[in-house]
Amino acid sequence: MSNTIPNVSNSLTRSASFQLVWLGIAATLGFALLMVLLSWASALTGSGTSTLNAIDAESGTLTLQLSTEPPQLDSTRATDSVSIMILGHVMEGLLRFDANNQLVPGVAERWEIREDGATFWLREDARWSDGLPVTAHDFSFAWHAALAPETASEYAFILYPLKNAEAINTGTLPGDALGVHAINDRVLEVEFEQPLAYFEELVAFPTYNPIREDFYRNRDGRYGADVEDLLYNGPFEMTVWVHGAHLRLEKNTDYWDRERVRLNVIDIPYFTTDTTAALNLFKDGQIAIVDYLGAEQLDEVLRQRWELLRFGDGSVWFLAFNFDSGRATSNWHLRKALQLVTDPSELVNRIIKLPGNLPGKSLFPVWLQGVNGFFRQEYPAPQIALDASAAREHLRLAMEELGLDEPPSLALLVDDTPGAGRQAEYFQNLYGTQLGIDIRIDRQIFKQRLAKMQNQDFDLATYGWGPDFADPLTFGELFASWNPNNNGRFSNQEYDQSVRLAQSSLDPHIRMNAFGRQQEILFEEVALIPNYERGRVYIKDRRLQGVVRRAVGPDPDFTNAYIVENP
């Protein structure tokens, strides 16, 4: 605008500014009033209390951040790690994991596992948070509820080793046919569908947690939805749950093993998936632990001289192939060619860049137990020697068999996390430069990726599998031809037989031999290209001790944690 202004004298400017100042003051006052109103409003939706520091030794309070609030605290339906972590603090099953990740008695005082079933003797002093005892009936009810077709529990399959469970879950048998009986309040009888070597591992899983029938029925479908919709029998009980904003766990004084619990309060007023925000909160002294870091944050952590720790989260990540006969990836030579140029070590050291991740060598991760020691020490993974020229030869054979003139173009299905995108770009470049194979990246949001996986709409897919229980079977089963998660439909008769054997045998030698054979078959058939065993790097306040990280079970576990004032 170039139009002229009438002569505005300086006095005007001055007096007008003066007036503006008055307006500003009035506005500030009005603003202050608004603030009061808003702070009242926000107290309704938030915690309303001023946040304590990360650690308060006096009151035994620990402040944490979680990636999200627990989506599902109804143990029959919980599937995700956050829900399982919270459930691990407020609930207790028949067995639980201790500070050394060993199975120890939980609500069950002792137990006996036979070939055809098991018996659990419950302890007398296990209590619900309303003071009533935890009985065998509560377990029986929970397991029935999880298997009832109307519950539509995604984890119902984990109860399938119970007699008739699968038939009940698919609606072919009524619920009372289940091989679980509460003999009396303190004795639980379980019948198996077939002999089972790892039932102890299973009953520690949250789907096996107890639920009290009268309470569950009272909630009218809202069981687990809110703080008053849950009964607790674990080391902590939940006292505050403002959705998406605040979660507070307090020591459960009715818990039978309360001496073990040394923290009084676990306060969780932050939910964010943004690790940068979490790191900022830690830096600001607001939270006591950042339970995983990205590679890009390590430099900052080093600069701050914080204590860095690591652990393996137990999951195995790999490139899955589509074995549909119409796909180029069903060709063994093509898969072999890809295998011969894939260097998991480069992926881990140059792309993921996080210590704790191990270059993938097998479907079976290093932490699994074998007969006497680690499974992978007893049955070492086959070595892959990188060989680009052999790979090109395999590619030539593959093109011959497939009747192609040029290397095929493959769709690589990945999820939409930044890390997955980077890996996809890495693979695209790797296979493009080494073999001339054009990789088309297919990045999809979580559910769309799952749909594409299940509809076999991919050639290659990055895939991760976390263990449900600490037995090689949780991995081995994955490539059985009947497994719904075997998305590429890998099918091999010998493999299937070997899995059946491992499922039904009780002899550890036979079972581990079977897994060893599975490992070989997967390598020979190039059923997958292992990428990495995921590790996590985390930081914690030096005053916080006794935090347990684990691959199977609730993680992180603060039930044994304690505070030292001067580390």
Partner: protein, 466 residues
């Protein structure tokens, strides 16, 4: 009576005095006038030049800086601009089995410090191989690495490895090695897996290395040049540094500009065009049709923009190998046309009522003449301004979608997605955020100021004021 005779001269035409009518300044058409005003507006002019430079950067840039934006240089990950490029030629990487002792001590409850850590071979960015003397009674070792000296407070840094086998007294570090000084600490663990109180630290200076074969395939030296071990070469030059996969930032910014500016310019073009057609149809036809058309436009305006943008993005889906630019364009057009439609319709209704249109009609102007001579010139200014202001909005929308992970699919770069990547590494590699963010800001700013200038220049009401 006087003789009155007429001569031919008397019948000559009286000359008309035309000087009064002379126009002092050359007559200016609407566009000439607008151009003059735009030139007078310095800010707008500068913005105009910036826009041209940005377009050149996008279109001609890749010819001048002919670097493939997809080439990954895994030896130069996230390198800032102006990093040291010297590299030594070394042998290709050979796997190392490590060093194992045969002693088999019984484990003890307390263990001492590792006595000495040595390098098995000179440390380089290819590998750092550590060997240490076994510690009596240790159940294993933990290896840490720091880029700062751990001495003052024992901050040993990154937990590189946990070794459970007491016989293994070596470790090979391959993790993201850069040419710098590292402090390696090896701590023995006792029978219970607890770390020893004391430990030893070794400071190691790594140098950048490259194999001769790599140097040649990357084009760092001629194929004829014979390289021997220890020779020094310079790794490829990246004026703006590299990103997390070692790709050239400048080249990526240029290709990213193609996506961002393409979406930023094409989407507004399309939705403005749709809006013009729709709005002028409504304006010309009028009556019931106009009512219905405009009511529908109102509905579309009422859709929450960002929410629907996200919905459409997932509804259209992006197939394998696709960049996702087209679905984003479609979604933008579908959601954004009504604003222009309303504007154009309003203009047309207004112009139809103007006196000069009536006058023109009285003088016998046909409809197509009216449209060509009056309607279009009088609306085009407004449309141009709308278009200019739409560009920054769309660029922001693209950036926003990238931020929440709904942007273009990798490996296609866009400024928004580069920004989003950069924000993760903001503290350590600020160059990955600064450059794309600065380009976004510059573009948005330039188009905004240009839009201001155009509005002032094209506004017919303003012409009378000068």
């Amino acid at each position: 009576m006087t003789e009155f005779s007429l001569t031919a001269a008397d019948f000559e035409r009286v000359s008309v005095e035309r000087r009064v009518q002379t126009i002092a300044r050359p007559s200016l058409s609407y566009w000439q006038d607008a151009w003059v005003r735009l030139k007078a507006n310095r800010r707008a002019l500068v913005s105009f030049y910036i826009v041209i430079v940005l377009l050149l950067f996008t279109v001609a840039g890749p010819w001048i800086w002919a670097v493939d934006p997809t080439v990954q240089d895994l030896d130069q990950l996230s390198t800032p601009p102006g990093a040291d490029r010297r590299a030594q030629i070394v042998q290709p990487y050979v796997p190392w089995n490590g060093v194992f002792t045969t002693i088999n001590e019984s484990l003890s409850d307390t263990v001492g410090a590792t006595t000495e850590i040595r390098l098995a071979q000179p440390a380089s960015t290819q590998t750092v191989r550590l060997v240490w003397d076994p510690v009596l009674g240790a159940s294993g070792y933990r290896v840490y690495r720091n880029v700062y000296d751990p001495a003052p407070d024992g901050a040993v840094g990154l937990p590189l490895a946990e070794i459970y086998d007491p016989r293994q007294v070596s470790y090979e570090d391959l993790l993201d090695l850069t040419p710098t000084r590292y402090w390696y600490s090896v701590i023995a663990t006792d029978r219970n897996g607890r770390e020893a109180e004391e430990y030893t630290t070794l400071a190691v200076d790594t140098i950048r290395v490259i194999t001769a074969a790599e140097a040649q395939t990357r084009g760092l030296v001629d194929l004829e040049t014979l390289l021997s071990l220890g020779d020094e070469v310079r790794v490829s030059f990246h004026p703006l540094g590299t990103d997390y996969l070692g790709r050239d930032m400048l080249a990526r910014l240029m290709y990213g500009a193609r996506v961002s500016l393409f979406i930023g310019i094409i989407a507004p073009l399309f939705f403005v065009l749709t809006g013009i057609l729709y709005g002028s149809a409504a304006g010309f036809i009028g009556g019931r049709v106009d009512q219905i058309l405009m009511r529908f436009a109102d509905f579309v305006v009422a859709l929450p923009f960002l929410l629907f943008m996200i919905l459409f993005k997932i509804a259209f889906g992006i197939g394998p190998g696709e960049s996702g630019v087209v679905p984003m364009l479609v979604a933008l057009v579908v959601l954004s046309w009504p604003a222009t439609a309303r504007l154009v319709r309003g203009q047309i209704l207004q112009i139809r009522e103007e006196a000069y249109i009536g006058a023109s009609q009285l003088l016998g102007a046909k409809t197509h003449y009216l449209i060509l001579r009056h309607m279009i010139p009088n609306t085009v200014g407004v449309i141009l301004v709308t278009l200019t202001f739409a560009v920054p909005t769309v660029i922001f929308v693209e950036a926003f979608l990238s931020f929440i992970g709904m942007g273009v699919a990798p490996p296609t770069p866009s400024w928004g997605s580069m920004c989003n990547e950069g924000i993760q590494t903001m503290l350590n590699h600020p160059h990955e955020l600064i450059f794309p963010a600065a380009l976004i800001s510059l573009t948005v700013l330039a188009f905004n100021l240009l839009g201001d200038g155009l509005r002032d220049a094209l506004d017919a009401r303003m012409r009378s004021r000068e």
